[in-house]
Symmetry: C2
Subunit: 377 residues, 2 copies
């Protein structure tokens, strides 16, 4: 079956929605944060560690898996779930975000598709809307994404309008070749921070009747938070109530809150594992950097009341030692904590929506989170 979204309750004081998503791997509550497993692995972690932190859907990257090990190999393995042994739902992106970051010359973007060089061996490659969907069909993810153009944050209204119209044509082309009966296909709304373009993109995409919708173009380098919130506000009113809404590439705690309040159900971000590799950890009092000398003799967990594996078993002093010594267990333990932090936060957000107390929750959360100076480095 394809994933099915059920709206259960809307917050009285915002557009936040509490719901469930039924998948081939069980039913999960939304809003939800998805850990990112770029190359068929959430960096350093096993599937068991993902279950233990109550992860639901995870995201994997079509571009990376296309290049290595290749969609045919994963198909032969029985699909991405079997290949990586993840017994939960998986969403694959369309590859656009990575591919457009590799384009050297604007003329390499044509109506047909995108020409670029592999980041592994420099080989010339060409990705089209059809190819993206065909790869995702073979990966056998639970949710596939339409191939979209990802313009830079600095793109003009004129460029974006053409881009939005091309993305609509690409969405149509991808939909035609989509052939995996147990895989949902989501459309992507683009249009920068322009109200008219978001409306155009959302309205026309929804007309194609996708299984869900995502809001893209908000996680580019140089994108301001203000523009991100505008992009959401300008898109949401045109998206149907009975389909999942996914904000791509966003995972800062404040943005999860702002996104949910604006009506978003699903988020993904590499942040929780990426900052871990630099020794950073989320806490209720803001991000901390475990390399900071002040943690040297701190024999308490990162957070006393955190239920993650890391906090149940290890101290800041020990994790600091691991990071200082460049031991792989360090980033691994921080990745577990950081991912669980965001997943737990979403659990609390869902409770708050049920109780119509989300705005209070947000205020309280941000008061603490922004209360101390941010240590991240």
């Amino acid at each position: 079956m394809k994933v099915k979204y059920n709206l259960i309750k809307t917050d009285k004081n915002s557009k936040a929605r509490y719901g469930t998503i039924e998948t081939n791997y069980g039913t999960y509550e939304t809003p939800m944060f998805m850990p990112v497993g770029t190359k068929a692995t959430v960096k350093m972690l096993t599937p068991d560690e993902l279950y233990d932190m109550h992860a639901g859907i995870i995201l994997s990257n079509t571009y990376h898996l296309w290049l290595r090990p290749g969609e045919d190999l994963i198909d032969k393995a029985g699909g991405l779930h079997k290949f990586m042994n993840y017994n939960g739902p998986i969403l694959t992106d369309c590859g656009g975000f990575q591919v457009f970051s590799l384009v050297k010359n604007k003329k390499d973007i044509s109506e047909e598709g995108v020409k670029f060089k592999s980041h592994i061996d420099g080989k010339n490659l060409f990705l089209t809307p059809e190819k993206s969907i065909e790869i995702q069909n073979k990966l056998d993810s639970d949710i596939a994404m339409s191939f979209d153009e990802c313009p830079p944050a600095s793109a003009s209204h004129e460029y974006l309008e053409n881009s939005v119209r091309r993305t609509l044509r690409w969405a149509e082309r991808g939909k035609k070749v989509h052939s995996n009966p147990r895989q949902a296909l989501f459309g992507i709304v683009q249009g920068g921070a322009y109200e008219d373009l978001r409306k155009l993109s959302a309205t026309e995409t929804v007309k194609m009747n996708f299984d869900g919708y995502s809001i893209g173009g908000v996680a580019n380098d140089g994108e301001s938070k203000e523009d991100m919130y505008k992009a959401i506000d300008y898109s949401i009113p045109y998206l149907p109530e009975d389909k999942l809404r996914y904000l791509m590439g966003v995972g800062e705690p404040v943005d999860l809150l702002e996104g949910v309040i604006r009506g978003v159900d699903l988020f993904d971000c590499v942040l929780s594992t990426r900052i871990a590799r630099h020794g950073n950890a989320f806490t209720r009092n803001g991000k901390i950097n475990i390399k900071n000398l002040k943690w040297r003799e701190d024999f308490t967990p990162i957070e006393e009341d955190c239920d993650c594996y890391t906090c149940r078993n290890f101290t800041k002093a020990y994790i600091r030692h691991l990071i200082q010594s460049q031991e792989g267990l360090g980033p691994r333990l921080l990745s577990i904590h950081n991912s669980r932090f965001l997943i737990k936060m979403m659990e609390e957000i869902r409770e708050a929506i049920k109780n119509d107390s989300l705005l209070e929750y947000k205020e309280e959360f941000l008061r603490k989170y922004n209360g101390e100076s941010n240590e991240e480095s």
Copy 2:
């Protein structure tokens, strides 16, 4: 309490011994292989993964912990067990092996101790027999090792004789300052591949009445297997039956077998985790390199009948992808398999000693293990 060795049964056809070792963290069977946790972490792995693979004693390195995070910090944490949250017995080495590898000039080795530069920041450091024991006392390991000189494989009989006599004086000095009532202290037998020197070293070391004995100087670069076996054969006859015998730095499967047959009870080696980082895995049919193209579409575990976490959950094709993609989960999964491989092998060796079938086990094991070409790279 200090560790206590109980000899239960000797093999009818060799010097192999089956016994148990009682520790503050439970009783374990010997012969035993110890995974190495150099910097208070078996690379990539959690204590839970060590319990799951039925690890017993693990080894940690005094030199590395002295430099970072420092023995005082670990003391403040409540000792090494609490610091790294390992609820099993720990043996610490004396630091000699690392320190002697850092000596640039022979005149930096004096009767008092060894002068060398830190591998981290080049700072001048000085390690003495007393200092080594004091550090280990603070680390609060279950077994501490006497500080010994580790001469190179090429050392002459004359050099080695002086070295053995100095190591005896150093053992005496270390024993005098040893003050941790729950920590056993082992003596180290040196003497290269010379029968007279091994006899001298073993006899004089045993006179000092240590809690156990190790055979050192067999894992240097350039040391031949023949010399290693000689070193064991020339040492064992002079070691008491009621104390544990530990062969330092040895972990190739064939050497575990040869060591046990010669009367060794305990082994350690970084091999199981080090080869993992290069994509190598132990199998009954010899080492394989998972990067080999022939595993690309192999959707079976590294070993069908292996009970390790990795083989229970992942295929060669997937692990190959992880290693090719330089994903940390790859070395992690191979480290689990390789360590479990050696631990499982020791379980089988113990059964074989109980059944007086160790020589047959060895023949059968080596026939398979050497049967296929070795793929390691």
